[in-house]
């Protein structure tokens, strides 16, 4: 096992200070290890996650070679040559578990932002105190964007949040964590080969959740965050926002209600309806009387743009032709069929919906490594 940094590197180096998992403690599991503390319904801090993974590496005596960066992978002799800082390793099989979120994805229009504006990605952002004075434009309203918008707003800076398509969820539903419902009703167990539009499922934005209370757009707007449409263009020093805000709200509200309907149907069908508080429905996302369409980036109104526009993997070291046009690994449930002996783990909806999350690895690893062992004739 090669790791360029230390164990749990992504949690040590690529997360902001206040981050808590949006998955509850009871759900944060690794094969054979689960949360045993006093607060199963709480949410781990970044440091807790580091400690959890560190402890797991020690307890499982994983043979991790830390500080060893892979700089190149090529096919050779029916297998692979893996080049690292301390030499080349030849192997028959290779598992790419290098992560799905190695680099922040930032739209090309960042090039048009005037130099007077500081631009940050979630990898550069640590805490609001380090931001320049003045307003902040947060671009993207998925988990990262809503969390950073809320935190930056609390620091006293005026925040405008540019909202594109998003996934709205209440933190709890009928007295249970909404992720408990996803788990119990089998949403998260849905397999990659049962999902109609797998490509879409794999690029679904993260839900508007935080390790705490509900953090939807109504919450943010009530706190004073200004909601604007998707950032469509930057022209002549002005940011232009889509006028389609109402529709992205409507889509997210409809999808959330459909999901809650499915939870209720499940509760009825399984005879468990009585275990939960009565069904609830939430106010539609309120459309601002007039949504902001343009913002003069030269006016001093905002000093910072935070790009919460997602993440992507970094495979610049992978010299095997197994990436698609978008730079994502082509695989069938973690098996890279185009290159025998090559596998992927830790990617969104790899084999199930839960593969996107830490606790998805248990089933995925067992099945993918099962395939790998068969390939080796073990």
């Amino acid at each position: 096992m090669l790791e360029r940094g230390r164990v749990a590197n992504s949690w040590r180096r690529e997360r902001w200070d206040s981050l808590r998992l949006l998955t509850p403690n009871w759900q944060t599991r690794l094969p054979g290890a689960h949360y045993a503390g006093p607060d199963p319904d709480g949410y781990m801090t970044r440091d807790d996650v580091v400690a959890f993974i560190d402890g797991y590496a020690a307890a499982s005596r994983s043979p991790v070679r830390t500080g060893t960066e892979v700089t190149s992978v090529r096919t050779a002799d029916g297998g692979y040559h893996v080049t690292t800082g301390d030499g080349v390793i030849a192997c028959h099989t290779l598992v790419l578990a290098s992560g799905a979120c190695n680099l922040p994805s930032v739209p090309a229009l960042r090039e048009a932002v005037p130099a007077s504006i500081e631009q940050l990605t979630p990898f550069d952002y640590r805490d609001p105190a380090r931001l320049p004075d003045g307003g902040v434009l947060v671009v993207g309203a998925s988990a990262t964007g809503v969390q950073l918008a809320a935190e930056i707003h609390r620091s006293g800076r005026p925040v405008t949040l540019a909202v594109g398509e998003h996934v709205r969820l209440p933190r709890t539903y009928r007295g249970r964590d909404v992720l408990w419902w996803m788990d119990a009703t089998g949403v998260w167990a849905q397999r990659h080969d049962e999902i109609d539009d797998l490509e879409r499922a794999r690029r679904l934005p993260s839900p508007q959740l935080t390790g705490g209370a509900t953090l939807d757009l109504n919450t943010l707007a009530a706190a004073g965050v200004t909601l604007a449409g998707r950032l469509a263009a930057i022209r002549d020093g002005h940011a232009l926002f889509s006028g389609g805000l109402r529709n992205v709200f409507a889509l997210a509200d409809l999808k959330m209600t459909r999901l809650l309907d499915a939870f209720d149907t499940w509760a009825q069908a399984t005879g468990r309806d009585g275990e939960f508080a009565p069904p609830e429905r939430y106010e539609p996302t309120a459309v601002p009387a007039s949504s902001r369409l343009r913002l003069d980036l030269g006016s001093g109104e905002i000093g910072t743009i935070v790009w919460a526009t997602g993440f992507r993997p970094d495979y610049r070291w992978l010299h095997v032709p197994v990436l698609d046009a978008k730079g994502l690994l082509r695989h069938d449930g973690g098996v890279v069929t185009a290159s025998p002996g090559l596998y992927g783990l830790g990617l969104p909806v790899l084999r199930r919906r839960r593969s996107t999350y830490i606790h998805g690895i248990e089933d995925d690893a067992r099945e993918v490594i099962g395939h790998l062992a068969a390939h080796l004739g073990l």
Binding site: G244, N247, L293
Partner: protein
């Protein structure tokens, strides 16, 4: 400035309207309206006659009816132009009207004004084939050929000013709040 040019635009009336509306912003609020009906397949007809402006209901002399459909390469019946092509109609019509008006105001006699309008459209967007491709036009190019009693620079200035004051140019280049509801 000569006053002999006649492009058929009543600039005097427009200038007077501008002066009056400066002091009466309510009267300047117009609402344009269209009503459409689904015919069959992807064919619809849209009718336009009434609008609101100058503080009251107004009407065109006659009702105009527009068919929108899609071409046979879209496996459609081609009963009319594609909806997005109507944007080209609107842009060409608006910029041309602007050129005629500005030319009139500047005393430039026009002999002919022709425009070619092209919009580049990657249809993978509307087909949902690639989420990174937008649904609408990526680029629009307009080429004007203007024959007028004016220098090349003056004609370029006409074309520039017509964009500066064009409703459709603005609607295409700047975002607009759009509310779509089910009655």
């Amino acid at each position: 400035m000569t006053t002999t040019a006649d492009n058929g635009v009543n600039v005097q009336a427009l200038l007077e309207a501008r002066d009056v509306l400066k002091g009466a912003p309510e009267a300047a609020q117009f609402t344009w309206r269209a009503t459409s009906t689904w015919e069959a397949g992807v064919h619809s007809t849209t009718r336009i006659q009434n609008f609101f402006g100058l503080g009251q209901e107004q009407a065109h002399k006659t009702e105009a009816v527009f068919d929108a459909d899609h071409p046979e390469v879209f496996a459609a019946a081609d009963n009319g132009i594609t909806p997005i092509e109507y944007l080209l109609v609107g842009l060409a019509g608006c910029l041309t009207a602007g050129i005629a008006s500005v030319a009139q105001n500047r005393g430039i006699q026009l002999r002919s004004v022709r425009a070619t309008v092209e919009g580049d459209h990657d249809i993978r967007g509307i087909l949902g084939a690639d989420p990174d491709v937008r649904n609408g036009f990526n680029d629009i190019r307009v080429t004007f050929t203007v024959d007028a009693d004016a220098s090349k620079e003056d004609i370029e200035a006409l074309v520039a000013q017509s964009q500066k004051r064009s409703a459709v140019f603005d609607a295409l280049t700047n975002p607009t709040n759009v509310a779509v509801e089910v009655a």
